[in-house]
């Protein structure tokens, strides 16, 4: 982490010695709510964590993974009832400890880091003071000076640059990644032997996630800690975890060495989860296979195997609950275990989809004469520019989108990738004219949008729609689904009679895989995936040609995400829709997009056919992004050489001059920091060759020679062949 050089990690690196048991729990159960109608969050979970190993608790939302960890540390709210047959933390019996003792154990023996570093740090106290406080809590005798020295040491240990100055800053002056580092420093304050990390990288960008994962691994090795990592991301698991415990509906369904479990899942849920994951390391043919249905709710009574209703291989015996039994190093709760490897499963999907998924090399020639579904030229959005304030001083403003050109052919998908703050959502809003662009043009199906007034725009809005990230926030809370879907029909006068309206609503519901029975529901009575389907149905109601999908599957669980992706693909085939798919998730984009555009600080830095970009990225930023995403394949994950970008994306309010990426560019460093990158801004230039592949880098031709040995795709293809 000390340089921007791609880090080499040897596969045969000595595994840390796995030592004594730090945490052990048997038959942990957690209930909420009234005893008459209990809500079972955890229904009997047993596991242990030893010194020097990383154990991952994996599951989708509601599986009870976080509640289990919180329950062990006594961090659940008062209404929760925790019971366990036995439990020890560093040899201390957890069943009999009181609140005070538990409070001491927290921090002293088990440090905890949370998902959202912004809300877990106190915004009104200096970062250093918060760490000092954490030290003082556990070392009563420590003097103020000594504690501060220790805090400084901790901040340096977690890789905060210029720690001496930053120790006196407030949390809002830290970036997301730095805050998470500070959180880790706090968790380490009392030198705990066990670190519990609850989704530590979920809120972070991929390049920052890579840094934090490296940090956790390094600390774990250096301090010989045990780490209990709670996550939903199998890619993260394969990168850092030694053992993995898969949870479903409050129970463990499978546990074992990460490599084994991910290569050869025995439980159908694990297998399904791996199959439903869009894979960065597979070409578009490896379509994710969704798990049908949704997980049982914590209030449901589940007599048999909780996964049976969704399981493709369920047998009669599954009505009876399978016990979690060991077979060798593996633990498994299934009557009819899956056979074969995860790769087989994915390869099977590949074979099935092979016919349909041969990537259409180029849009049909006819499309060339038709106007593009979307044409964006030199689009610019500047926030807060012009003359501001009482004295009307001119201000440069924030260039959220700075001269973007895009076009999407009818019936195809453009994937727009970028980290948070790169302007991708603003670009989407500007295309939809929800934010008025400062300059440039946007045309949908040949109709120019910029420069029209609200009223003139209204009839045109039929032609382009949007589906948002948060399906709960994008539906009016009090409107029943029928009304949600009727409104656009009525606004645009698309139905003439009451009967026609009702029929169209039902048709729309069926189109997105929901039935008539959903018409009378309120949004909060639906699950996240169902709400997102309603969001899609609403967009479809006006029969648009273009839909902007703004992180539309990011808030969904993996298995549900695969369902929605499949739905979007089906709708595209049936209705000939064009999609602008905005996402930070490179694997999802790879799976759904025909073309990809990569955005950095308001500009497109690389654009081209999806396969080319994933196979042979020509901009160093794209290469770094691809390299940073962990994939659920232990062998590859541990062997591959990774480009680690240092630092966080600069603020869009003051982007670096020249090439905006030069401050973090690994290629520039390799080439001996050429002055040209700072002095001159590279244009998005055509790279030659048949396809329209463009990159904004002065040295895009020299990159190939410096790329890491094992590229994302080649390794996999070599093996599959």
């Amino acid at each position: 982490m000390t340089s921007e050089q791609p880090e080499r990690r040897d596969g045969d690196e000595a595994a840390p010695a796995v030592g004594r048991t730090l945490l052990s729990v048997d038959d942990l159960r957690v209930e909420f709510g009234s005893p008459q109608r209990p809500i079972h969050a955890v229904r009997g979970v047993s596991f242990d964590v030893r010194a020097g190993e990383v154990v991952a608790l994996v599951g989708e939302s509601g599986s009870g993974k976080t509640v289990s960890a919180l329950a062990l540390l006594g961090l659940l709210p008062r209404g929760a009832r925790t019971t366990m047959a036995s439990g020890t933390l560093e040899g201390i019996d957890l069943t009999g400890v009181g609140d005070d003792e538990l409070r001491h154990l927290r921090g002293a023996t088990a440090g905890m880091i949370f998902q959202d570093p912004l809300s877990s740090l106190n915004p009104v106290k200096r970062v250093g003071d918060q760490i000092v406080e954490a030290i003082a809590l556990h070392e009563k005798g420590a003097g103020r000076k000594a504690a501060r020295a220790r805090a400084l040491e901790l901040l340096e240990q977690v890789g905060i640059p210029d720690a001496g100055r930053r120790i006196d800053e407030y949390p809002h002056q830290f970036s997301g990644g730095m805050r998470q580092r500070a959180m880790i420093a706090m968790a380490l304050a009392a030198a705990p032997t066990l670190l519990i990390a609850d989704e530590p990288t979920t809120a972070l960008d991929v390049t920052v996630q890579a840094q934090i994962l490296e940090l956790i691994q390094r600390l774990q090795r250096d301090l010989e800690m045990g780490v209990l990592l709670i996550t939903h991301d199998l890619g993260v698991v394969s990168r850092v975890a030694d053992r993995v415990i898969v949870m479903y509906a409050g129970r463990i369904v499978e546990a074992g060495a990460t490599e084994e479990v991910l290569r050869q899942p025995r439980h159908h849920y694990t297998a399904g989860l791996l199959r439903s994951l869009p894979r960065l390391d597979l070409p578009r043919g490896g379509a994710p296979v969704p798990i049908s249905g949704s997980a049982p709710q914590p209030e449901d009574v589940v007599p048999g195997c909780a996964f049976a209703p969704r399981c493709p291989s369920a047998v009669e015996r599954c009505a009876e609950r399978p016990p979690l039994e060991p077979s060798g190093e593996r633990w498994l709760a299934c009557w009819e275990p899956a056979t074969g490897t995860a790769l087989d499963a994915v390869a099977g999907g590949e074979a099935d989809a092979a016919g349909a998924a041969v990537v259409p090399a180029a849009p049909a020639p006819a499309a060339a004469s038709a106007p593009p579904a979307l044409a964006v030229e030199r689009l610019q959005v500047i926030y807060g520019g012009g003359r501001r304030g009482l004295r009307r001083r001119p201000s440069a403003g924030v260039r959220a989108v700075d001269g973007v050109d895009l076009s999407i052919a009818p019936g195809t998908t453009l994937g727009l990738v970028g980290e948070s703050g790169c302007g991708k959502t603003t670009l989407g809003s500007a295309i939809l004219q929800l934010v008025r662009p400062t300059a440039g043009t946007v045309a949908v199906g040949g109709e120019q949008l910029v420069g029209r007034g609200d009223k003139q725009l209204r009839p045109l809005r039929r032609r382009f729609q949007i589906v948002f990230q948060d399906p709960a926030a994008s539906l009016t809370p009090r409107h029943r689904i029928e009304r949600v879907l009727s409104e656009p029909l009525e606004l645009h006068g698309l139905v003439r009679s009451e009967a026609e309206r009702r029929a169209r609503v039902i048709e729309l519901l069926e189109l997105v895989g929901l039935g008539e029975r959903f018409a009378d529901r309120l949004p909060h009575e639906l699950s996240g995936g169902q709400r997102q389907r309603v969001g899609i149905a609403r967009a479809l109601a006006v029969e648009p040609e273009l839909i902007v999908l703004d992180e539309s599957v990011s808030a969904l669980d993996v298995s549900v995400q695969a369902q929605v992706l499949a739905l979007l693909e089906r709708l595209q085939d049936e209705l000939g829709l064009a999609y602008l798919f905005i996402s930070h998730d490179l694997a999802v984009i790879r799976h759904i997009a025909d073309e990809v555009a990569v955005m950095y600080l308001g500009r497109i830095v690389e654009r081209g056919p999806s396969e080319q970009i994933y196979r042979a990225p020509r901009h160093p930023y794209t290469a770094a992004l691809l390299s940073a995403v962990p994939v659920p394949d232990v062998e590859r994950e541990r062997e591959r050489e990774r480009i680690v970008l240092l630092g966080d994306p600069p603020s869009p309010a003051s982007p670096p001059g020249g090439c905006a990426f030069h401050t973090r560019c690994w290629l520039r460093e390799r080439l001996g920091n050429p002055e040209r990158c700072v002095a001159e801004r590279p244009e998005l230039a055509h790279l030659g060759g048949e396809a329209d592949h463009r990159a904004a880098c002065h040295f895009s031709d020299e990159q190939a020679a410096h790329l890491p040995r094992t590229d994302a795709v080649t390794a996999r293809e070599g093996r599959a062949a």
């Binding site: 709510g33 209204r458 729609q465 948060d470 926030a473 994008s474 009016t476 009378d520 009575e525």
Partner: protein
């Protein structure tokens, strides 16, 4: 919250009968602890409307010989210094309090809702102007406003109610404005704009209905405040004028007899105010729980 959850209310709706929906609403109201409050309020309204007819005595009939009688069978709540029946005055006072209190609050809530929604949604210069105006109004306590209005219009029920209504407006406008500001930036509003809905459509169909819950909670709490303020004005002699029975002025009339043992003249209307205020506060809290669109997920 999953699709398989069987919600009795959803099931009742699926039957699609209006009666079913009303019954389902009543059942849900019970969940929120609202049912007792609603029954209590219905009783109160019935007493205010029907009580004077059933009891049948004239609340203003003076009988000096029967002055200051302790409660007995013919005068269950006793009589006041002029021999007027306290029960009859209590019952007709209930009408005045209810009518004045509720209409003052309704007026304040409706005006406040409109001002707050418009200024929050459209923003800009209008927003600034309305806010300064409301800040100005906020500086007047109801009693001071009541005194000035009483001076200008002469004391009576109308200026008292008006004073309470006017001073109430900024409170509603403030709450509505901040709620509208936060709703305005939500995705569902952006979705409506993307669909081509006009601003007025978004404001009236999507934003105002979402705000109504909060306003009705505040309004029901506001009834308590209004009743007390009107009673206060009555106590000062600026409200409803004698001989009309009003609880506030009844307390004033009886206060000099509290020390001499004729407690019933003041205490009985005092209890009336206590009951109405408690009911309206309980209604407000019950409504808040009931109208929360995500309330059913409350654990």
């Amino acid at each position: 919250m999953s699709g398989v959850t069987i919600d009795p209310r959803a099931a009742a709706r699926a039957r699609g009968r209006r009666g079913g929906r009303a019954r389902a609403w009543w059942r849900a109201a019970g969940d929120a602890g609202l049912r007792k409050v609603l029954i209590g309020l219905a009783l109160f309204v019935a007493v205010a409307l029907l009580g004077p007819l059933l009891w049948g005595r004239d609340p203003d009939q003076v009988q000096l010989r029967a002055a200051l009688l302790a409660p007995d069978l013919s005068h269950p709540f006793g009589t006041d210094e002029y021999g007027r029946d306290v029960l009859a005055r209590f019952l007709s006072g209930a009408r005045v309090s209810l009518l004045l209190g509720v209409s003052a609050v309704l007026g304040a809530a409706v005006v406040g809702l409109v001002l707050g929604a418009v200024s929050g949604f459209y923003g800009g210069f209008l927003d600034g102007l309305l806010n300064r105006f409301l800040d100005g109004l906020l500086a007047f306590p109801a009693l001071v406003m009541g005194m000035s209005l009483a001076l200008a219009m002469g004391p009576g029920a109308l200026p008292a109610g008006l004073a309470v209504a006017i001073t109430g407006v900024p409170w509603y406008a403030r709450v509505v404005r901040s709620e509208v500001l936060s709703l305005k930036s939500r995705d569902f509003v952006a979705a409506q704009r993307a669909l081509g809905a006009s601003r007025r459509h978004i404001l009236t169909r999507h934003i105002v209905p979402s705000v109504l819950g909060g306003v009705s909670v505040q309004a029901s709490l506001g009834v308590a405040y209004a009743v007390l303020a009107i009673a206060g004005l009555g106590f000062l002699g600026l409200g409803v004028q004698p001989p009309t029975a009003e609880w506030g002025s009844m307390i004033t009339e009886g206060r000099s007899y509290l020390t001499s043992g004729q407690w019933w003249i003041s205490i009985i209307p005092g209890f009336g105010i206590l009951i109405l205020v408690s009911l309206s506060v309980a209604l407000g809290e019950g409504l808040r729980d009931h109208l929360d669109p995500y309330g059913k997920a409350r654990y």
